[in-house]
């Protein structure tokens, strides 16, 4: 199967004959399929389901899913209404707060029994009086928002102990919170987080945020909505990427027709990819929405190779049909190999047990496979149909102003670059590269795993959502960074002192771990309730050894508190952390494991983990575990494909070594820019390697042929440069343009992915042009 071997040429040629003879039929087939898939693609849905983001097979996530029904309750909405002038005790604030409360109550999908604010009847104060407890609603039935009424409410708020939860610590804000149902009661369908988020924006924020009152909304559904909105904005970037790419291609080929064709074909590839995804039942999520960019860019880069070849042939006097046929035959194999290695590279991502990465793998490999058809088959067929205008042909042939000048100047550049394949410059390049590699390798060891920044990691720190998160976590005693350790034990375990005491000990040990801000469990709440039963006397804040007394103190804690399940055979210890940085998570997780191993017994076990940070911990571990196998698979695939196609270990080394150096440099870049290895950046490395190999394959396929025919390394490299050099550079630039528009995304992970991919595309191109010939210079001995 070696490239350009006579048998291959033969088979390509026979394929080519059949194809070009039946070209009307083939084109008709393409048109029909495109129309069908275009319709399918228009039906594609934005899908941001939560479970796709987590490693479902990880042991933490099994615990999480097992207890999701009882302690899931993570799908909450918190709305903080704040008064920028002083405190909340004024009439207009209370009217707004009541408005927000009532409005939220009527949004379909909100669990109406769980809407909680100062105005909900369940917000009560309890005080200890001589003969027991006394209490009432914090806002009494006869409340009027005058000075006296507000004073009473203020007193009740203090007695109710809700400062920090329902009212902010500094009394400048009050909270309305609610939990969301699984299904929309009006339609009976699964609740659409994105539409909830939209309603929160239009019906709450737009309506009530005015003058000195501000509205701050956080919660999973709101975040999903904001991420979806951010993801939608990439459509604009897609337009920009197409425009810039078109201009680049035009400057390369100086022909409108030859510009439109590869772009149109690449666009068809995108349509096919999205149509196929939709047909297969997949949706687009904020990560896979980036794949069309990649497909488009890869498509254009291969299309450029095709029109480069056509253009050169036309300038030598061939007709467009002949040029198309020859280019097809010449490029089907190297192009096919390059695209196949991309596809296989992406498919290796399927080995990672995180839904969103797997879908990315499917979307990307589907798309690249489509390019084989659209840009290596459809494109030459279309080219064969058009008449390349005489002016272009003329320009291409003879114009001294344009192509001619360019050509000579290029030639001098190629002459210079070809020297990289001689031992003198090559030694210099290799020594310099070695230093760079060693330096990069050492620094890349500090690459962090996980999210490194505060707030919702998908969004920028400056985003409204994260600003709202910071405000709420600052002003309330509420933390969004928490992890639940689930105690699994026997039914009715919470009525046994010895079990509750172990939970209490575990909680105390964990509270002493740096990074744990505070903790809560049924045990710690039961102690406070017990003091409550004893007149609020703190000396009784203990777990009673008397079973009846213990039951009495637990009976007041409902299972809706999320601190126990129905028969208290499962109870979480909720750890509130300082942040969700990888090192904090690691420290806490290690401490949990250590303490669990010391305290687990026949009757109870401490199990990691639930809560947002629990999910992050599992994801971090899954990402860390996946990193090495993924790299091995990607490189394995690339190496095998190179060996198969070049039948040369030397050629394989020349392609793979620069690739590996660039991967390491990309990790160094991530370390330097504080980009952690996450669900979104992990696949980027595979994508970068899978696509980055294209340059090397294109250059070496020509070089390999010349070397076999006895050319010197320098001559072989020079030939490769003149044949493919400008196309390789254009390829690198078009790819980089496609992904660099992500830098302007509203979504932080898209920015991170954009940075790393742009870097890998550009630097892989340089490496293929600079490091590859330098290695080749030492691997092949010139036959003189």
């Amino acid at each position: 199967m070696a490239i350009n071997s006579s048998s291959n040429n033969h088979s390509s040629k026979s394929t080519q004959n059949v194809l070009f003879k039946m070209r009307s039929f083939v084109l008709f087939l393409f048109a029909v399929i495109t129309a069908f898939l275009l319709y399918q693609a228009s039906q594609i849905k934005l899908d941001a389901s939560f479970t796709k983001n987590i490693p479902l097979q990880h042991s933490y996530m099994k615990t999480y899913l097992k207890h999701q029904e009882n302690f899931g309750g993570a799908n909450n909405i918190l709305i903080s209404v704040c008064d920028s002038e002083g405190d909340i005790f004024n009439e207009s604030f209370f009217n707004t707060l009541k408005g927000v409360h009532d409005q939220l109550f009527f949004i379909p999908g909100i669990d109406r029994t769980q809407v909680k604010s100062l105005f909900s009847p369940s917000t009560r104060f309890v005080e200890i009086v001589e003969d027991g407890f006394a209490g009432g609603p914090v806002i009494p039935a006869n409340f009027t928002a005058n000075k006296a009424g507000l004073n009473i409410v203020k007193g009740n708020i203090e007695k109710a102990g809700i400062v920090g939860r329902i009212v902010s610590d500094d009394y400048s804000c009050a909270m309305v919170n609610a939990s969301l149902m699984e299904v929309n009661p009006e339609t009976g369908e699964k609740l659409d987080s994105i539409s909830i988020a939209e309603q929160l924006e239009t019906q709450i924020r737009a309506k009530f945020e005015k003058n000195n009152i501000s509205i701050h909304i956080i919660g999973f559904a709101k975040m999903v909505g904001d991420v979806a909105n951010g993801a939608k904005s990439v459509v604009t970037f897609f337009g920009i990427a197409i425009a810039i790419t078109a201009i680049m291609v035009y400057f390369f080929c100086r022909s409108v027709k030859l510009t439109i064709l590869p772009i149109a074909c690449s666009f068809v590839a995108v349509v096919w990819q999205m149509g196929m995804l939709s047909t297969l039942g997949y949706g687009l999520d904020p990560m896979s929405i980036l794949i069309p960019f990649l497909i488009f860019a890869i498509g254009v880069s291969h299309g450029v190779q095709m029109i480069n070849s056509v253009k050169k042939l036309v300038s030598k006097g061939k007709t467009s049909l002949e040029a198309a046929q020859i280019s097809f035959a010449a490029l089907l194999i190297p192009g096919g190999i390059a695209l196949l290695s991309d596809t296989v590279g992406f498919l290796t991502l399927l080995s990672i047990d995180i839904g969103i990465i797997r879908e990315l793998a499917i979307a990307a490999s589907l798309g690249v496979a489509m390019i084989i058809l659209t840009n290596l088959v459809l494109l030459p067929l279309l080219v064969s149909l058009i008449r390349i205008s005489p002016t272009v042909e003329k320009k291409v042939k003879s114009s001294p102003k344009n192509y001619g000048v360019q050509d000579t100047s290029k030639k001098t550049i190629w002459d210079f670059i070809a020297n990289f394949a001689t031992k003198g410059p090559a030694s210099f390049i290799l020594i310099f590269t070695s230093f760079l590699f060693i330096f990069g390798y050492i620094n890349s060891q500090n690459m962090k795993i996980g999210e490194l920044h505060a707030g919702a990691p998908a969004l920028h720190e400056t985003s409204r959502y994260n600003q709202d998160t910071f405000l709420i976590t600052n002003r309330y005693a509420i933390s969004v960074d928490y992890m639940s350790v689930i105690v699994e034990t026997t039914p009715d375990a919470c009525t046994q002192y010895k079990i509750m005491n172990v939970i209490d000990q575990f909680q105390w040990r964990m509270e002493n771990v740096p990074g744990v801000q505070s903790a809560i469990s049924l045990a710690s709440v039961a102690k406070i309730v017990n003091a409550g039963y004893n007149e609020g006397n703190a000396k009784w804040r203990v777990l009673s050894k008397n079973q009846q007394t213990l039951v009495q103190s637990i009976a007041r804690v409902p299972s809706s508190s999320g601190l126990l399940n129905n028969n208290c055979s499962a109870m979480p210890v909720i750890l509130f952390l300082d942040d969700h940085k990888a090192e904090t998570i690691n420290r806490v997780v290690d401490a949990v494991k250590l303490n669990a191993s010391e305290l687990n017994n026949e009757e109870l076990t401490f199990n990691l983990a639930s809560g947002p940070v629990g999910v992050m911990a599992a994801t971090n571990e899954a990402v860390k575990e996946a990193q090495l196998p993924m790299m091995l698979y990607v490189y394995g695939a690339v190496i095998i494909l190179c060996l198969l196609s070049f039948r040369s270990i030397k050629a394989t080394i020349s392609v793979v070594v620069p690739l590996y150096i660039v991967s390491i440099l990309a990790q160094w870049l991530m370390t330097a820019l504080d980009i952690g290895l996450t669900v979104s950046t992990l696949p980027v490395i595979a994508l970068g390697v899978g696509i980055g190999v294209d340059y090397g394959i294109y250059i070496l396929s020509t070089m390999n042929e010349k070397l076999k025919n006895g050319a010197t390394v320098k001559a072989a490299y020079h030939a490769a440069l003149t044949e493919r050099g400008s196309a390789v550079i254009i390829t690198g630039i078009t790819l980089a343009i496609g992904v660099s528009t992500w830098l302007f995304s509203d979504l932080k992970f898209q920015v991170d992915m954009g940075i790393v991919l742009t870097f890998m595309f550009l630097v892989n191109m340089f490496a293929a042009v600079v490091i590859l010939p330098a290695i080749a210079a030492f691997l092949w001995k010139d036959k003189k």
Binding site: W508, E535, N537, A538, K539
Partner: protein, 341 residues
């Protein structure tokens, strides 16, 4: 095989001893000084000793830097008392009594009675040998040998009339039920204070009593309030102040006059009375309440601590209150103009 068995036996034994250690000794924890602490005392204004949950005992010479010491219990300790600069006791749940003879550096377990499932709430000594520990449901222990032996007493003089009649009846009918009932029929004894010759006891259902023989016989004061009292103190001018549930403070002049209620502007539980060395009286309470009096307890001004934490006990130490709370040690400066920071 035999060898394996022997080795495993060793494992089991080793495990048992370790497990035992873990249960009986308090764990040294970085956050002990920020945990729930329930009592604090100053030893001759030179050293502070605080005790609290999980057997936490902390020592300090300046009120700012605290050193936790290990003690042979993990029970919650509710009270601490020193008779001189070396000898002291701490009491807590499970009727635990600990003693130190070296100023709090080392403690040993003198007494505990888990089967009762009751806490001891306070302890007082008249001299290094004669002392009394009191607690929930009228628990009353006495020693005459510095705590080597503790003997339980049942003070039926604190029974209500109808309860007394009921008990007498039960004693005849069903002796087992009688002893069972006796375990929980008395009110909680919250605090016992020795003031020279006189010993005062305050507790549940408005209990205030005094004794001239370290609690062998008691004289009850007339009921002035049916809620609980948590502390009593003799003021600088020799008057008595008592503080209790829902912000209730009463004062009696020179032992004799009827109790007068002082206005407090709070309904929080009042835990502890602290006398400053320059004549002010402070009363610490739940929800961050500090009451301050400049007129020997006749009137109080309410000073809320902004964090709203329960202030459970305190001492006057180097011109400030060093208090213990549900979030541990707190140094509270109360300057004379009434502005606190």
């Amino acid at each position: 095989m035999l060898r394996i068995l022997i080795v495993c036996l060793g494992c089991f034994l080793g495990g048992a001893v370790n497990a035992n250690d873990a249960i009986t000794s308090s764990m040294l924890a970085p956050l002990a000084e920020k945990s729930l602490l329930l009592d604090i005392t100053s030893i001759q204004q030179k050293k502070l000793v605080a005790v609290g949950e999980r057997g936490h005992v902390l020592l300090s010479v300046d009120g700012n830097n605290w050193q936790q010491v290990s003690v042979p219990t993990q029970e919650t300790l509710t009270s601490v008392f020193f008779i001189n600069n070396l000898v002291g006791w701490a009491v807590g749940h499970n009727s635990t009594i600990l003693k130190t003879t070296n100023g709090g550096n080392n403690w040993h377990l003198q007494y505990s009675n888990p089967s009762l499932q009751k806490p001891l709430l306070d302890i007082v000594f008249k001299d290094p040998f004669h002392g009394v520990a009191v607690g929930a449901y009228g628990q009353f222990l006495r020693t005459i040998d510095g705590g080597k032996t503790w003997l339980s007493e049942f003070h039926e003089e604190f029974l209500l009339e109808e309860d007394k009649a009921f008990l007498d009846e039960l004693k005849v009918d069903d002796e087992e039920a009688y002893f069972d009932e006796r375990e929980s029929i008395l009110p909680h004894f919250n605090r016992i204070i020795s003031d020279g010759r006189t010993t005062y006891l305050v507790g549940e259902i408005g209990l205030i009593a005094k004794s001239n023989d370290l609690g062998l016989t008691w004289t009850k004061f007339d009921e002035i309030y049916r809620g609980s009292f948590f502390d009593l103190s003799r003021t600088h001018e020799g008057n008595l102040v008592v503080a209790g549930l829902r912000g209730h403070v009463f004062r009696s002049l020179k032992n004799g006059t009827p109790w007068q209620e002082s206005k407090t502007d709070t309904t929080s539980l009042l835990n502890s009375i602290v006398l400053s060395d320059e004549g002010r009286i402070f009363i610490l309470g739940n929800n961050g309440v500090i009451l301050e009096s400049h007129d020997d307890g006749h009137s109080f001004v309410l000073k809320m601590q902004p964090d709203g934490k329960s202030l459970i006990a305190g001492v006057w130490f180097n011109n400030r209150i060093v208090a213990v709370s549900d979030v541990g040690i707190k140094n509270i400066f109360m300057n004379s103009s009434g502005f606190n920071y």
